[in-house]
């Protein structure tokens, strides 16, 4: 117990330690900094693997807690722990990070702009992400949530495309607006806990003991209940991050402007912070309010699925297409979370991981192409499969995962969400299901415009297929795509008990009863 209790802290801060090393590295070794980053991601991935094998899947509660008193008199502590819900997300981050570094390794002879600061930001970002997933204290969660913003701000703002400043400011303001309300809500919770529990506390375990009044007998009474306001404050912060329509327009801009590695992290992990927040905080701590507003969020989720898909279909910019596909796929998670159904809850968690893999992979493909042909315009490719067969295969695998073909990870997420949500909200699911069709339409359109048809470019002689690092990156992703697709139990088995208890406690409290 003693040996593992610090493990989580090591996972969170090992990237930061490496960032310090990077900072102290003399500029003569600047060319080796990528290697250092890669080693860092591997070290953290090893630590995460140790965590995975030490995690006890038969227990539902938080494990391996590490508590350090920070400002105890104000009820603020450094408290981290892991459970079956955060474990898969930590593992996702741990495996996506080396893949992202490998897949975006700059080619030889490419001039690197402020390389040291760049890799430090990547490390800093990881610390923020692990911290958010592992926090067991509301304030600590908020702290890491904000920490994530800073490296992302610079990744887009310094190394981004032409309109990076607009994109950065938009990204920053959007997220800040949400965060501000969350901060106010946290402050209110600390105050309430001080009054009712005798001492201020924001630890997740204590929050379960707090009761925030909720009266759902009429709309007016619901809107005047404190729980409603707390829920909405948190939910707003989270749904902006998801992003839920209509708060999504920061995402395509941020993606298009961000460097590839930034896009991969953004799509694969950062968006999940939003859905994780909903699952970890907004729904379990304010269940009555969440249940009261469920249909609204499901509706927005369904709109997101359909609208996102149509927007994706209307793009000529490959990266924007993938960005809008994220809007669409994240809509499924919204539907799953607010269905208040056991199968759908589990599916939502799986979908977070699965979308991380497929979207991360697709952004890598966009990056491969951009690096080689310096364009993202879908009409400027065509027939590339003949020249770059390996890339075509990798792209096909990610496309299949994205359209949720059975046997790939995508199906493991979408099928339970739709099946579970259908049991309680059949009509919404009927519409959500059209996402299954539209998803195939835009994904195959993108694939065809890039890989199939006659070759139209004349400068393809220099187009080279995937290099070794890129192949390794895509193979790791492919293993997860098919591994999860065929053996979801092996990958997600350790979350079963937690998810079971999680859904039972929420559904017992508020949800519909039945299968």
């Amino acid at each position: 117990m003693e040996t593992t209790s610090c493990l989580l802290t090591w996972i969170i801060f090992s990237p930061l330690l490496f960032a310090l090393v990077a900072f102290l590295t003399p500029s003569a070794f600047e060319g080796k900094l990528r290697l250092l980053t890669f080693i860092q991601t591997l070290v953290t991935a090893v630590l995460a693997t140790i965590l995975y094998f030490n995690f006890d899947g038969t227990q539902a509660g938080p494990q391996m807690a590490h508590l350090v008193a920070w400002l105890p008199e104000w009820g603020i502590n450094y408290l981290v722990s892991v459970d079956g819900i955060s474990l898969p997300l930590v593992m996702l981050t741990a495996f996506v990070s080396p893949v992202a570094i490998l897949g975006t390794w700059p080619a030889l002879g490419v001039e690197l702009k402020k390389e040291k600061f760049f890799v430090m930001m990547l490390m800093f970002l990881q610390t923020g992400m692990y911290g958010t997933f592992l926090s067991s204290d509301l304030f600590l969660f908020y702290f890491f949530w904000e920490v994530v913003l800073i490296p992302m701000f610079f990744l887009i703002g310094v190394w981004g495309g032409k309109e990076r400043i607009y994109a950065t400011v938009k990204f920053f303001l959007y997220t800040m607006v949400g965060s501000l309300l969350m901060l106010v809500a946290i402050f209110f919770i600390l105050k309430t806990s001080a009054e009712t529990l005798g001492a201020p506390t924001a630890a997740f375990v204590d929050l379960h003991r707090l009761q925030f009044a909720f009266d759902g007998s009429s709309f007016q009474s619901a809107m005047s209940s404190p729980q409603t306001w707390l829920f909405l404050a948190f939910a707003l912060a989270f749904v902006i991050k998801v992003p839920m329509v209509p708060f999504h327009t920061w995402l395509p801009d941020a993606h298009v402007q961000a460097p590839t590695v930034g896009s991969v992290f953004l799509a694969a992990v950062l968006l999940k912070l939003g859905t994780y927040g909903l699952m970890r905080i907004a729904i379990p701590f304010f269940p009555e309010a969440a249940y009261y507003f469920r249909e609204f969020f499901i509706l927005m989720g369904v709109i997101g699925i359909i609208y996102g898909a149509f927007c994706a279909l209307g793009q000529t910019d490959f990266k924007k297409l993938v960005a809008y596909s994220s809007v669409s796929h994240m809509g499924f998670i919204m539907v799953g979370l607010f269905a208040f159904n056991k199968v759908a809850f589990a599916g939502s968690l799986y979908q977070m991981i699965n979308h991380g893999i497929s979207a991360g992979g697709l952004f890598l493909i966009v990056g491969f192409l951009y690096e080689r042909l310096h364009t993202r315009n879908l009409n400027e490719f065509g027939g590339l499969a003949k020249t770059v067969p390996l890339m075509a295969i990798a792209f096909m695998i990610m496309t299949l995962s994205s359209v949720a073909l059975p046997g790939t990870n995508g199906f493991v997420g979408e099928f339970p969400i739709l099946l579970g949500a259908f049991q309680v909200q059949p009509y919404y699911v009927l519409f959500a299901g059209t996402g299954v069709i539209l998803g195939a339409v835009y994904a195959l359109k993108a694939y065809q415009l890039v890989m199939l048809g006659p070759q139209t470019r004349t400068d393809l002689d220099h187009l080279h297929d995937l290099g070794l690092k890129e192949i390794v990156a895509m193979i790791i992703l492919a293993i997860f795509v098919f591994g999860i697709g065929f053996f979801p139990k092996t990958f997600f088995g350790k979350s079963d008990v937690t998810l079971d208890q999680y859904s039972n406690s929420i559904i017992d409290k508020v949800g519909p009863h039945g299968p």
Binding site: W74, F117, L183, G453, K489
Partner: protein, 658 residues
């Protein structure tokens, strides 16, 4: 019901997957390139692995027939696929008498078509890719019929759709072919949504998706009474899935386009196996469909109308593969008609004979196309009989079989369908009339096809003539095997009436399928309807013969229907343009989707949502201008300020708290 645990189903399933991995991964890696595998190596491996499946399937078949149990089945639970939150879906395979038969058909015809492909694809680049897809297809198709729960069936269902997409677009550098593949996948997906909804409803009502459990539950009258209100909806949703995969109205439009794939693919996927998946699904779920007369009636009507509709289009096509494609749509309609009138056994019977003769006809057409240097237009063929004696002989047998000429396989199965559709509880049905009309059309367009291809005067160019050659033995061998099956396969299902004359020959297939797919409505004949089986049989035979030979005779000199009967031109034009259905869909579906997506992407998102955001932003900016002096442009100082700001916020809160 007796279940025997056996590893056979798993071995049958895995074998083509191993072939896929060898051709898709191992060989390209060891030869350092995708296009480098020679056709004989790639095809040899692929054929060997599907051939192994066939041999194993024979063992399974022997095991089933050796069992004394009433409804024996071989079952293996490979591993747990999904199991959480009350959703338990094992990766469980089952071979019973229905799936056993289909496994034999799939692996058997699959092997023949793999062998044929070695020769047919000999000169192509990337044969390794071709054979890996073909093996993958067999894997998915076998999973579809052996999966013992609906999600697993759906796994195979979507998987065959993927392989179909990949194989239709095999020559992907041509935009038209790539488009055809995409169209197939997307139209199938529309149907798949129906399938999904059907599954969700079924799970809601029964709490399980296991096929074994579903049939057990449906045997319980209490459960039946409970789910009765939603049973029609479930069946119709599932049937929507079937219309997509099995190319029925209104989702049949992808199948004719799918002909742009290599011809052996059309034979295997788009004639013999994949497209019959919908028929298999309904036959498999017959206890469920039996509960909803409304749904069955819809199935029967859609089937009958599709049969007639597609049959009429086939009459005016000049592309030999398009004729066969519409003919397939039409024959599938026949099978659904059989399902709809409750004659599930007959549907499976026709599924089997159709697999024989249609695979034969497609492979034969491939042989013709191969001989004519890739020409598919029948107006540029004619008089090929003497050049292609083997192809002609085998295709002749196939064409007689599909036309329902007595004692060829199609005669027995088609006659049984007609006979079943006359015997509805309500009396003589117009569905029977539609069936008869379609049968006449079938014989007619098949005769026309044979005539335009093999008889009459030659219309091919000198260049084509120069290269004209009979196909090699590796291609004609599968043709002969299929020809024997197409000729004699019908004797597995000799009707009672004829069987008495043939020394009490039983209806083998009916006996075989009875425990899984009972025959339901046939006894009505003779009780309610006095029409004798023999009358139907004799009548349909005579009509088929007349129609077939008039088709052959008329088109020896003419090429189009309009040449024969003046004043037929407008009808011909409508038929040749396939009733303009593709154009109609472009107007009501494809174009609106395009416009909506453009509207969403380029108007709503850009101007409405972002407009609001930017409008808000510019207000903020005005305030921000006042604070401009703090902007230094130095990144490090920004970072520092951010962190400081964060800490400031933290301390601010503490202060308020205390």
């Amino acid at each position: 019901m007796e279940t025997m645990h056996s590893i056979l189903p798993a071995l049958i399933l895995i074998s083509p997957l191993v072939g896929f991995i060898i051709n898709g991964v191992v060989l390209p890696l060891s030869l350092k390139g995708f296009a480098k595998t020679p056709a004989n190596t790639a095809g040899g491996f692929a054929s060997a692995f599907i051939g192994l499946s066939f041999v194993l399937a024979l063992f399974a078949f022997a095991k089933l027939s050796g069992s004394t149990a009433e409804n024996p089945s071989l079952v293996i639970n490979c591993f747990e696929w999904f199991n959480f939150g009350g959703l338990n879906i094992p990766f469980e395979l089952r071979i019973d008498k229905l799936s056993g038969l289909l496994v034999l058909i799939i692996s058997g015809i699959g092997t023949l078509i793999h062998l044929y492909s070695i020769s047919y694809m000999h000169e192509e680049e990337c044969v390794g890719r071709y054979f890996s897809y073909l093996n993958l297809f067999c894997f998915c198709m076998l999973l579809l019929v052996m999966g013992n729960n609906l999600p697993l069936l759906f796994f195979g269902w979507e998987g065959v759709g993927l392989c179909s997409y990949l194989l239709i677009g095999f020559w992907y550098t041509e935009t038209e072919k790539a488009n055809a593949g995409k169209k197939a996948f997307i139209v199938n997906r529309i149907g798949d949504l129906g399938f999904l909804i059907g599954m969700f409803l079924l799970f809601q009502q029964l709490g399980t998706l296991s096929l074994t459990e579903i049939s057990t539950l449906l045997a319980n009258p209490e459960v039946v009474a409970r789910i009765m209100p939603s049973v029609t909806l479930i069946c119709l949703a599932l049937f929507v899935g079937a219309t997509g995969k099995s190319a029925q109205m209104p989702l049949y439009v992808w199948l004719p386009d799918a002909m742009s794939g290599p011809t052996p693919v059309s034979a295997l996927i788009h004639a013999a196996t994949m497209v019959t998946a919908g028929v298999y699904m309904i036959a498999r779920l017959n206890p469920l469909f039996e509960l909803s007369p409304v749904a069955l009636s819809v199935v029967a009507h859609v089937g009958a109308i599709t049969a007639l509709f597609a049959g009429s289009i086939a009459v005016a096509q000049t592309d030999i593969k398009k004729v066969l494609a519409y003919s397939t749509v039409s024959q599938l309609g026949f099978m659904f008609l059989a399902c709809g009138v409750g004659a599930y056994q007959t549907a499976v019977f026709h599924l089997m004979t159709h697999a024989f003769f249609k695979a034969l006809l497609f492979l034969g057409s491939g042989s013709v196309i191969h001989a004519c240097s890739g020409e598919q237009d029948m107006t540029k063929m004619g008089a090929l009989k003497k050049h292609l004696p083997h192809t002609h002989l085998t295709m002749l047998i196939g064409s007689l079989a599909i036309s329902g000429i007595p004692f060829f396989s199609g005669f027995f199965s088609k006659d049984e369908i007609l006979y079943s559709s006359i015997a509805l509880p309500g009396g003589v049905s117009y569905l029977f009339v539609i069936g008869v009309l379609t049968a006449i059309l079938t014989a007619f367009y098949t005769g026309r096809m044979m005539s335009l291809t093999f008889y009459g005067q030659k219309r091919y160019s000198h260049e084509v003539e120069h290269h004209l050659h009979e196909s090699p033995a590796l291609m004609t061998f599968p043709l002969y095997v299929l020809a024997i099956l197409a000729a004699l396969g019908g004797f597995l299902g000799v009707p009672h009436l004829l069987g008495d004359y043939l020394g009490h020959m039983p209806h083998y297939l009916s006996h075989w399928l009875n425990p899984v797919v009972p025959s339901k409505h046939l006894p009505l004949v003779g009780i309610k309807i006095g029409l004798h089986e023999g009358v139907v049989m004799a009548g349909s035979s005579i009509l088929a013969i007349i129609s077939y030979f008039s088709g052959v005779a008329l088109f020896k000199k003419h090429m189009f229907v309009k040449d024969i009967i003046s004043g037929f031109k407008p009808v011909e034009k409508i038929l040749a343009n396939k009733y303009y259905v593709d154009e109609l869909y472009a107007i009501i579906v494809v174009n609106p989707v395009k416009s909506i997506s453009n509207f969403c992407a380029n108007f709503i998102d850009k101007f409405i949502i972002d407009g609001a955001v930017n409008g808000l932003g510019s207000q903020v900016k005005r305030i921000g201008n006042g604070l401009r002096s703090i902007q230094t442009g130095d990144i490090q100082s920004y970072a520092l300020m951010m962190l400081m700001g964060l800490l400031l916020v933290i301390f601010f809160i503490f202060k308020v708290l205390v």
